[in-house]
């Protein structure tokens, strides 16, 4: 009736190949990409320790940390640091507050809220460089709708990105437009993942809404807030697309954030050594930040996987 046991072995029983090699084989291509990243990286480190100008090849020399030492007394460097920090602080701060507010508004999973949250994600899906272009069109002094609207409230000839005093504001505005949805999406997911019990209990006890927000919601949201903020800080301090697309770093040096400055240093002044050194400083900052971020992110990930 049934098969006699053992009649139908699959393959002759032989020792299988050492499958200890398998994981290494599978990840070999990824390893190659890794190496492909690390080689240029170490090259950049190498360059940062040299005086290296493409236009003056005969002056190329190894000067150890002189590039970095020069930064300390260079007003342009400190301008870059200042603008970058200011940009980061403004963008992340505004996006956090705005994103949190919107997330709170959309907290309940109603149809309208869900539609809204998807619709609000759209700016995030647009290339930041193109977003800059869109805002450039809208702030054109001749036909831009925003210039027109602003003139209606009395601000004639508002120069937006062409004016040193308002350039930073303009690019911050574009950044806020593009990236607030990112904050909102993350914080909304976090809000919806919060356990309902503390809130139900607070409601039963008649606790006022502000108390609930500051003492219950915010503390529970903190891991998401920290993760999202670090993520955005990492992006903002090295922002290139938005600023370059808008003004290429101008007017003057008002928007010379790190990567824009490094880019111009390389392509306009052909100063490879200085450019590399500037990028190394930026890298050091992002390295510290990303380590902090990765720790937070892993913690959040464990929580998500654990609950799944």
């Amino acid at each position: 009736m049934a098969t006699r046991a053992g009649e139908m072995a699959t393959t002759p029983r032989r020792r299988s190949a050492r499958h200890n090699l398998l994981p290494y084989l599978l990840s070999l291509p990824a390893l190659l990409v890794c190496i492909g990243i690390l080689i240029p990286f170490f090259t950049a480190v190498w360059y940062s320790l040299q005086r290296y100008n493409l236009a003056l090849p005969f002056t190329r020399a190894f000067i150890w940390f002189d590039n970095y030492k020069e930064f300390l007394s260079d007003a342009r460097f400190w301008n870059t640091v200042q603008v970058s920090l200011l940009y980061t602080f403004l963008t992340v701060g505004i996006e956090l507050l705005l994103g949190l507010g919107i997330a709170m508004l959309l907290r309940r999973a109603t149809l309208l809220n869900n539609i809204m949250s998807v619709a609000l994600m759209l700016p995030l899906m647009i290339a930041p460089a193109i977003a800059s272009l869109m805002w450039k069109l809208m702030t054109n002094p001749n036909f831009g709708i925003l210039s027109y609207l602003v003139s209606l409230v009395g601000l004639e000839n508002f120069k937006w990105a062409s004016d040193p005093s308002t350039a930073l504001l303009t690019v911050v505005l574009v950044d806020v437009w593009v990236y607030t949805p990112f904050m909102m999406v993350l914080l909304l997911a976090g809000l919806r993942a919060l356990p309902p019990q503390p809130f139900e209990a607070a409601e039963l006890d008649g606790v006022p809404a502000s108390f609930v927000f500051f003492r219950i919601t915010l503390p529970m949201l903190t891991p998401y807030i920290i993760t999202a903020s670090l993520f955005r800080m990492l992006d903002s301090i090295q922002q290139f697309d938005i600023i370059y697309a808008m003004t290429q770093g101008g007017p003057g040096d008002t928007l010379l954030v790190f990567q824009v400055a490094a880019y111009l240093e390389f392509f306009q002044y052909t100063n490879v050594g200085r450019s590399a050194a500037l990028l190394m400083v930026l890298w050091a900052i992002t390295f510290v930040l990303s380590n902090l971020f990765i720790k937070q992110w892993l913690r959040l990930r464990e929580r998500a996987r654990g609950a799944a």
């Binding site: 049934a2 098969t3 006699r4 046991a5 053992g6 009649e7 139908m8 699959t10 032989r14 020792r15």
Partner: protein
């Protein structure tokens, strides 16, 4: 020569030794139940035989060949997992057919065999459903069918009845041995339920502290447990244990218990003079309303019905707790609220364990 041999198998995970030298020989067509508490290493043992892990030391042989280093797909074993492990994206038919497809059997043979075993396990009406549409019982039988369908050399069943409701568990306990015998399978069956072990096993291998503490047929495990730990694991309610010190006098060996002296069978003479624990199973205590030969006065504290038996909680004059069991009918004889009864232990069934090592030292058999 045994069909499946484990020889001094050791396995550690992260510095913790789960199996510290396990040896067993399973005959062809035999069902050996590996019994132990949770975390004892039973599942690890099954996975070692299946080929999901490799032993740190020792050998595993199927037939006469060692399978250490051979991948699971080449070992010709069938395994039914505790949580079923069905392929969620395939209907039940494909789940069961999987081992046959791996062996490249022709389509009509696959169809025939899958339907036959599905009929045997009464799931042929749900073969086209995806696993998520099946009840737990149907999932379990699908997993079982999958493990059986190719007639593997060795069948590994990892507590298959654990996640299944009580009624089905009872039914399967009757059905399984029949199905397994039909397939003439050599089976390793893992469970934490001693009743299941005793019902299904030709032999039971009790796994304690990473080793087999005893490998014997069910009756022997129950009547002649090798240690106190094993005696405790088998039997519901648990065996009664009391410290004692058997002594020899002119009339033979005896023991002081519950304020009286009881005679022990001569086979217990090795226990004389040693610190022991005496074990008396609840069903071996006769409880009666009147005094009888060899009975001691006890107080009846509580009566608990348990299936068709009743469990009696008694207290001796010295305050020791005693559990006894008797049939429901017998229990009904005691008038409500009645306290004073008499307990007569059947000393011929008493077990003596060394107080320190837990090993059984009496009575000696054959």
């Amino acid at each position: 020569m045994s069909y499946l041999t484990l020889d001094g198998v050791k396995k550690s995970f992260r510095k913790e030794e789960v199996l510290s030298g396990v040896s067993l020989g399973v005959e062809r067509g035999e069902t050996v139940v590996v019994f132990g508490t949770s975390g004892a290493g039973k599942t690890v043992l099954l996975r070692l035989i299946a080929g999901m892990y490799e032993p740190d030391e020792g050998d595993i042989r199927i037939g006469s060949e060692s399978v250490v280093g051979v991948g699971p797909e080449a070992r010709d074993v069938g395994m039914a997992f505790q949580n079923f492990a069905l392929y969620p994206h395939m209907p039940a038919f494909e789940n069961i057919a999987s081992p046959l497809r791996a062996r490249r059997r022709p389509e009509d043979e696959i169809r025939r065999r899958v339907h036959r075993i599905a009929g045997l396990l009464r799931i042929d009406h749900v073969l086209h459903h995806l696993p998520r549409a099946l009840s737990n019982g149907q999932k379990q039988r699908t997993a079982l069918a999958r493990s059986l369908v190719s007639g593997p050399s060795v069948l590994l069943l990892d507590d298959p009845l654990r996640n299944v409701d009580a009624k089905l568990r009872y039914e399967m306990r009757l059905e399984l041995p029949r199905v397994l015998r039909d397939f003439e399978a050599t089976v390793i069956y893992v469970t934490q339920d001693y009743k299941e072990a005793m019902a299904l096993g030709d032999r039971i291998a009790v796994l304690i502290d990473g080793r087999f503490a005893q490998v014997a047929p069910p009756a022997a495990i129950y009547r002649e447990p090798a240690s106190m730990a094993i005696a405790r694991l088998f039997g519901d309610p648990t065996i009664n244990l009391y410290p004692c010190r058997p002594s020899a006098n002119g009339e033979g060996v005896g023991v002081e218990l519950f304020g009286s002296r009881f005679a022990l069978p001569p086979a217990c003479e090795e226990a004389a003079g040693r610190d022991c624990l005496i074990g008396l199973r609840p069903e071996h205590l006769q409880i009666g309303m009147e005094r009888s030969e060899g009975a001691v006065p006890v107080e009846l504290d509580a009566v608990t019905p348990l299936n068709v038996r009743a469990v009696l909680l008694l207290k001796t004059q010295a305050g020791e707790e005693v559990l006894a069991s008797c049939s429901e009918a017998d229990a009904l004889r005691f008038p409500r609220g009645h306290r004073a009864v008499w307990a007569r232990p059947a000393m011929e069934t008493a077990l003596l364990f060394d107080r320190e090592s837990g090993e059984r030292i009496g009575p000696r058999r054959h």
